[in-house]
Amino acid sequence: MILSTDKIFDQICELIVPFNQKEVLIKTDTTFATDLELDSLSVMDMLAAIEDHFDVTVPLNILPDLENVGQVAEALKSILDDENKTCG
């Protein structure tokens, strides 16, 4: 199934809930470090939850490029598209 970036974003928002202790309203430009006050380990834990939800590999290598939630949705979109290409 091909998911749109918007759909992916919506699902990510739900996955972020346990990490959003300040109950910040999540938008695409919500940042992990400043808005959600997550340290690097928490961001990695959150990515692990996202990996398992979408059943894909999200390498730690892309972590430096992920400052906000929108960037995660875009990264996921490209990973999922790539996965569909490889596995049909």
């Binding site: 380990l41 390498p59 290598n61």
Partner: protein
């Protein structure tokens, strides 16, 4: 004649490269300067593996990872003195140029004998061993899977290389299996390195090596075990957790350090891989650094012989169990069980943890204040590492002080 200043030239303001550290600077500046700062401890004099003079005060060392007490072992010191006299203070060169002395080769032979492997390579630190081995073994088309609670040197080894890095849940074979299956689905032929630690240093928990390594093997991955905190401590002859769990046949690369049980400095990797020796030419943290000083090499060589002695291991774990049990019985929330050389009290509030550390110092006990991100699960810890060289009197003294300070700060009822 005086030169005039070009006052009319305006130098444009550039971004201060240190600006990114402002939040850390702000947090750190809340700590007091001087003896009460947990991160600027300086030893005036060291008396033994378990005692030092700090801020003019005799202090029990209960947080130095000196598990076997080898730093003041007479035979190790004599070996170091001998090498110092015969070979000087340093090699001033890389292992592949002028930095290999007979001692370095002897040390590698000792390691091969200690681990019963075909190959051994010695690095200048344990940190460099992880940087070198991980970044070199796993290339751009390969994957490295690391435990979520891995030591910084493992994360940094990953960052230094070009492989794809995937993190699995701490000590969770099923989680590892799931991630390996995903990679194989996409990339059936890729090289995969799974990195685990024998003992995790903050809470002293052991990896279930058998289950993790079996998950790795199903997916045709190779296994590296870092025994930094377990060499000397576990196993019939002190090789570490893989020996203790009788699963050494499942481990492809064993890595470790001389800076804990071995009582000096340096790192190593041992393996039976037939092409292992090529690492001496392609592993940059091995090539582009000076080799260990001869005295360090000589003491490591001696200590590797001495830590085979199971008497030291029994004494170490007895000491740890005594402290862990005592603290647990007193009502502390323990992060450790006593089955490793670590005793860690969980302190809910970071400020209380800092005060706890300061009070323990004033009572003459040095422990580690361990706080996130160095700790798992956001825990604040009063972390002790025990030594075979601690006496029961010292353990009981620590215990008494932990309880007194715990009551004073309201950590204990």
């Amino acid at each position: 004649m005086m030169k005039t200043k070009p006052a009319d030239k305006v130098i444009p303001m550039t971004t201060d490269l240190f600006e990114k550290f402002d939040s850390i600077i702000a947090e750190y500046s809340q700590l007091p300067t001087g003896p009460l700062n947990p991160f600027t401890v300086s030893m005036d004099a060291v008396i033994s593996p378990t005692e030092a003079i700090i801020n003019g005060k005799k202090t029990i060392l209960a947080g130095t990872n000196n598990y076997m007490g080898m730093t003041y072992n007479k035979e190790c010191m004599a070996a170091a003195h001998g090498a110092l006299n015969d070979f000087g203070t340093g090699t001033t060169g890389s292992r592949v140029l002028n930095g290999t002395y007979n001692g370095h080769k002897e040390l590698e032979e000792t390691l091969k004998d200690f681990y019963q492997t075909d190959h051994a390579i010695v690095f200048s630190t344990g940190y460099q061993a992880n940087l070198g081995i991980i970044s070199t073994l796993a290339g751009p088309k390969d994957y490295v899977l690391i435990d979520a609670d891995s030591h910084a040197s493992i994360y940094d080894g990953c960052a230094m290389g070009n492989a794809t890095i995937v993190r699995f849940a701490h000590n969770d074979p099923e989680n590892l299996d799931k991630r390996l299956a995903r990679i194989r689905r996409k990339d059936p032929k890729a090289g995969i390195l799974v990195v685990i630690e024998g003992v995790y240093s903050m809470l002293g928990d052991q990896a279930p090596i058998k289950e993790l390594a079996e998950a790795a093997k199903i997916h045709d991955a190779v296994v590296l075990v870092d025994e930094a905190h377990s060499i000397g401590v576990f196993g019939k002859t002190g090789r570490g957790v893989a020996q203790e769990q009788e699963v050494e046949h499942l481990v492809d690369f064993t890595l470790g350090t001389f800076s804990k049980s071995v009582g000096t400095l340096g790192g190593y990797c041992v393996s039976n891989h037939p092409k292992f020796e090529i690492l001496r030419l392609v592993c940059r943290p091995y090539v582009f650094t000076a080799s260990l000083p001869p005295s360090v090499v000589a003491s490591a060589n001696k200590a590797l012989e001495l830590i085979k002695d199971s008497g030291l291991r029994i004494k170490l774990l007895d000491n740890s169990m005594r402290l862990n049990k005592g603290l647990s019985n007193a009502g502390f929330n323990m992060g450790t069980t006593g089955k490793s050389p670590i005793a860690a009290i969980v302190v809910d509030d970071k400020k209380v943890a800092i005060a706890y550390w300061q009070n323990m110092m004033q009572e003459g006990v040095y422990v580690n204040l361990a706080v996130p991100p160095a700790t798992p699960n956001g825990l604040n810890l009063m972390r002790c590492s025990l030594s075979a060289a601690h006496s029961f009197e010292q353990i009981d003294y620590m215990l008494k002080k932990f309880i007194a300070v715990g009551k004073k700060l309201g950590v204990l009822d």
